[in-house]
């Protein structure tokens, strides 16, 4: 084992990771706020009005990043889940547990903003386009993970059951996206599709990317904060947690 590798392994212990996470949160939180301000500024004041959709298109600056995050967070969750099964580490499972609620939040926001973008653009609040439908199923996958977590009392068993569920889900996610895409093109053609976003001016793309980075920084900060609480909950028997509250 290289010494550089073994340096990082110490942080697989919840006790060691707890303070590290605590120091990281302000940085990611601060980055999230800064990036959001920049992104929103670009979104509202720099990006030009879309000639086709008017001002309503500005919803994409939060709709698309939310959809990206919903998808991305699930994959990261599945990564931690796989790690927890392979290495049998508690902390990896705790990270997966910590990411799920934030991922579900982004999935929900993606659906909500998609609906409010769809209404002025396509006339209805809900369109069965490929991305919205896949995100809906993704939301159910998140809720299933959280529900399974809540229904198993033994934390280690819950870790492993949820890890397997997350992996099965992760393998299915591309299949689901593909099948929904297929279904959508067969039935409706490309006309009703939120993926056919307005032709991107560079500023629009920039705004979306900055907001995407902001969402990513926020997710890390939120997940780190949540995992710290999870560590406190689950390591309650350990000496070092008792010392914390003295």
């Amino acid at each position: 084992m290289m010494t550089t590798g073994s340096f990082w392994f110490q942080f697989a212990s919840p006790a060691r990771f707890y303070p590290l996470a605590g120091r990281m949160i302000p940085w990611f939180g601060g980055a999230a706020v800064l990036l959001s301000l920049v992104g929103l500024y670009i979104g509202f004041f720099v990006a030009p009005t879309d000639w086709q959709q008017g001002e309503s298109y500005r919803i994409i600056f939060i709709h698309v990043p939310a959809a990206w995050m919903a998808m991305f967070v699930y994959l990261v969750m599945a990564f931690w889940a796989a790690l927890s099964l392979v290495l049998n580490t508690r902390l990896s499972a705790m990270m997966a547990q910590a990411l799920a609620p934030t991922g579900a939040m982004f999935a929900f926001v993606s659906l909500w903003t998609g609906a409010f973008w769809g209404r002025p653009t396509w006339g209805t609040y809900w369109v069965w386009d490929a991305r919205l439908t896949s995100t809906l199923i993704l939301l159910f996958l998140y809720l299933g993970f959280i529900a399974l977590r809540a229904s198993i009392d033994d934390p280690r068993r819950a870790d492993r059951a949820c890890a397997l569920l997350a992996l099965v889900g992760a393998v299915n996610v591309p299949i689901i996206y593909f099948s929904v895409q297929w279904w959508n093109t067969l039935h409706q053609g490309a006309s009703v599709s939120l993926t056919a976003a307005p032709k991107m001016a560079e500023t629009m793309l920039a705004g979306m990317l900055v907001m995407g980075l902001a969402a990513w920084a926020y997710t890390i900060a939120a997940a780190l904060h949540r995992v710290r609480s999870i560590i406190l909950e689950r390591e309650a028997h350990a000496r070092w947690t008792r010392e914390l509250v003295r």
């Binding site: 199923i137 159910f140 996958l141 809720l143 299933g144 529900a147 399974l148 229904s151 198993i152 009392d153 033994d154 280690r156 068993r157 492993r160 059951a161 397997l164 569920l165 099965v168 889900g169 299915n172 299949i175 689901i176 593909f178 099948s179 929904v180 297929w182 279904w183 067969l186």
Partner: protein
């Protein structure tokens, strides 16, 4: 590895588990009949809830048949592990000197023979109820033949994960249904494509590919889930 290793071979383990479950199923035929009646009942609800207009029914028939098949399969899933879990037999199976994936494959095969296969035989009835043409019914049966085993495997893994978890059948449904969406899309889509003149080959091949995948990975995923349930 010893040469006189008492472990059962994969095929004999599979056959043993399948036979055992079939024998047990034969003793509770009423339970199985309920699953099949449920399928017909659900399919019959749609014309009542929507409209008896023949053109409409013919158009939505594949979807309804598939949703009904999915729900019926879901209904029958708990019995895959529930009885063995309750009396501790599942733990014995876990400890048996036989490859666990093979034993589980035997159980799933038996489960499909008892709930999935009869669905295939009932599907034409539902098809007739909805005025589907004979060749369309044929495609429906083919899609169900490929798809119901996939549902059995998705269901088996998820059912094993929920053993000993609170929430029972509704939790199982919440977990399985999102995973079953691709099967639903390609299954119902096969019949719809056929009816539209495009042909069902693409859909059926995708289902076939899925079937191979679940038979390759399913046994190991389900075995892992059963092990996790017994920690």
């Amino acid at each position: 590895m010893q040469t006189d290793d008492p472990t059962m071979s994969v095929s004999s383990a599979l056959v043993w588990a399948c036979r055992r479950d079939l024998y047990l199923a034969a003793r509770s035929r009423a339970e199985l009949a309920v699953v099949l009646l449920f399928f017909l009942l659900v399919a019959s609800l749609f014309p009542l809830a929507v409209s008896p207009d023949p053109t409409l029914l013919r158009a939505i028939a594949p979807g309804i048949a598939w949703v009904a098949a999915l729900l019926a399969t879901l209904l029958g899933l708990p019995r895959l592990f529930a009885a063995d879990w309750a009396d501790g037999t599942l733990e014995q199976i876990l400890l048996a000197p036989a490859p666990l994936p093979a034993l589980i494959a035997g159980k799933v095969l038996a489960h499909w023979l008892v709930t999935g296969l009869p669905l295939l035989l009932l599907a034409p009835l539902a098809g007739l109820q909805f005025g589907l043409a004979a060749d369309a019914i044929g495609i429906l049966v083919a899609s169900l033949a490929l798809g119901t085993p996939i549902l059995s495997w998705l269901g088996a893994t998820t059912a094993a994960l929920t053993l000993g978890a609170r929430g029972g059948a509704s939790l199982l449904a919440l977990l399985v249904l999102p995973l079953a969406v691709p099967v639903l899309i390609f299954g119902a889509g096969a019949v719809e494509s056929f009816a539209a003149g495009i042909g069902a080959e693409a859909h059926l091949s995708l289902l076939g590919a899925g079937l191979i995948l679940v038979w390759v990975f399913g046994p190991f995923a389900a075995a892992l889930a059963v092990r996790i349930a017994h920690e």
